[in-house]
Amino acid sequence: MARFMTLADAVAETVRDGDTVAMEGFTHLIPYAAGHEVIRQGRRDLTLIRMTPDILYDQMIGMGCAAKLKFSWGGNPGVGSLHRMRDAVENAWPRPLDLEEHSHAAMANAYEAGAANLPFAAFRGYVGADLPKVNPNIRSVTCPFTGEVLAAVPAIRPDVAIIHALRADREGNVMLEGIVGVQKEAVLAARRSIVTVEEIVDDFGPRNANAVILPSWTVGAIVAVPGGAFPSYAHGYYKRNNAFYIAWDPIARERDTFLAWMKTNVLEGRPEDFAARARRPAAA
């Protein structure tokens, strides 16, 4: 059941050391503010799950929050590598990082299965690919009608899902729109959840009959964090700051520039800082 909280309280109550945590967002609505709070609170040994780990997970991995990453594409989209993720995988810095690697199709199906309370997802996948050779969590099932053999992966059922949405109403119902990714599935599949939103409104008002809404009884903590998806974006609120994604590459390339940036912008930062960041023009 939804409760309105501060971000600090929500993370303190919801995320524990060693948890499996899915912070989703497919380019759109990435929960940066919430992720920074997890970093500030010093969580350790997390298993991070995300289809497209990008800068936020680069930051969390570089700060030593994660013991394992379950993912399907880990890069800075359109820019290049995640240098902190690479440093962890290639050099075990600041600590070793186990990988459980899938394809997007597998991860999307696994979230869907988690939301549907199924133990596994069956799909047509991985034909001729090498990932099944290195990932024991890719198996197969046989169709009991046709005899066809399909790929199978375990359902994703995280301890915690964290997402950023557009709006919540006073009852704690949450609305998403635009590129909705797997966020609804992540929340429905998780035991606990935190949803940050751009704003809390009295009423959603007139809307499409089939709007993507998570009812209040399906979410945990709700926190209003305007701009909380920066440098990602929020449909109808602010655009993706592509310049930041490009600027991240040199920052993350070296350990010392990374740590200095994190100290100033995250460790000494506050959720309230995000509103101003998101308001800046994309080129700033």
């Binding site: 993912f71 880990g74 997007h104 199906n109 869907e112 799909f123 599935e185």
Partner: protein
């Protein structure tokens, strides 16, 4: 229409030639699953020139999108704002890609072998990689569910390799009918468009064979940029050069994109 000539040299870069050649592979009847980077530029150029009816789909869930600027990622707001509709990512991979509704998957990659298998996962050993690449993303299933696959990437001996350290997505496997024996029912890669030439698989062996050479490139330049002893078709064409219109539209697109992204 011919290309502008400056000092006797066609006034376009190899990357522009690659993008234009790739764009020409699409028609207005295609439903195309667009990979990010080089494929995205080619697909949108096609839409803005000879294939206005092409349906572009990005794995973020955007269907029938008509971006005014190129996205930096596969999920930029521009893609959603200009789409016919946007579906969830599970639906995208289940109903649309696995559903068999896509005619062309347009992929890039870090490494390719002579049978058009792609690697975007690791260089070196998987457990102890020399270089950890981003991974497969949508590619493993794009490679097998789309009716055919176009690949576009710049040539170079570190990219066009004799042997892949890791097969992220299936091309023609070990050649011949290997792809079908592994269970893939679609055509797989039918052309590879590079900055030097266009390659197509040999009908029998499925080995990539140079079918046309871009203006300014030569057989020797292509051989040097390829990590395997590359074969040439019996008749090798010269790739038609970009038209002035294609170049103008492509450059406008890139200029708009650069302004919009506000950096680099």
């Amino acid at each position: 229409m011919t290309a502008p000539i400056r000092d006797g040299v066609p006034a376009f870069t190899p990357t522009e030639m690659m993008t234009v050649a790739a764009s020409r592979a699409l028609t207005s009847r295609d439903v195309c699953f667009v990979g990010i980077g080089a494929p995205s530029a080619a697909c949108n150029l096609a839409r803005l020139t000879h294939a206005p009816g092409v349906t572009l789909i990005y794995e973020s869930g955007t269907i029938g999108t008509r971006p005014d600027v190129l996205p930096l990622s596969i999920g930029d707001g521009e893609l959603c704002d200009t789409a016919l509709t946007t579906v969830s990512v599970p639906e995208m991979f289940r109903y649309w890609l696995q559903g068999g509704r896509i005619t062309v998957g347009f992929l890039g990659g870090a490494q390719i072998d002579r049978f058009a298998n792609l690697n975007t996962t690791v260089v070196g050993d998987y457990a102890k990689p020399k270089v950890r690449l981003p991974g497969g993303g949508g590619a493993p299933e794009i490679a097998t569910h789309c009716q055919e696959v176009f690949i576009t990437m710049a040539m170079g001996a570190r990219a066009f390799v004799d042997r892949l350290p890791f097969v992220t997505s299936l091309g023609h496997g070990t050649g011949g009918d290997d792809r079908r024996r592994r269970g893939a029912t679609t055509k797989g890669p039918t052309r590879v468009i590079t900055d030097l030439c266009v390659m197509t698989p040999d009908p029998e062996t499925k080995e990539l064979t140079v079918a046309s050479i871009h203006a300014g490139a030569t057989r020797d330049v292509i051989r040097d940029a390829c990590g395997w002893p590359v074969r040439f078709a019996d008749v090798v064409e010269e790739t038609p050069v970009p038209s002035a219109e294609e170049l103008a539209i492509l450059r406008d697109l890139h200029a708009r994109t650069k302004r919009a992204h506000g950096g680099a």
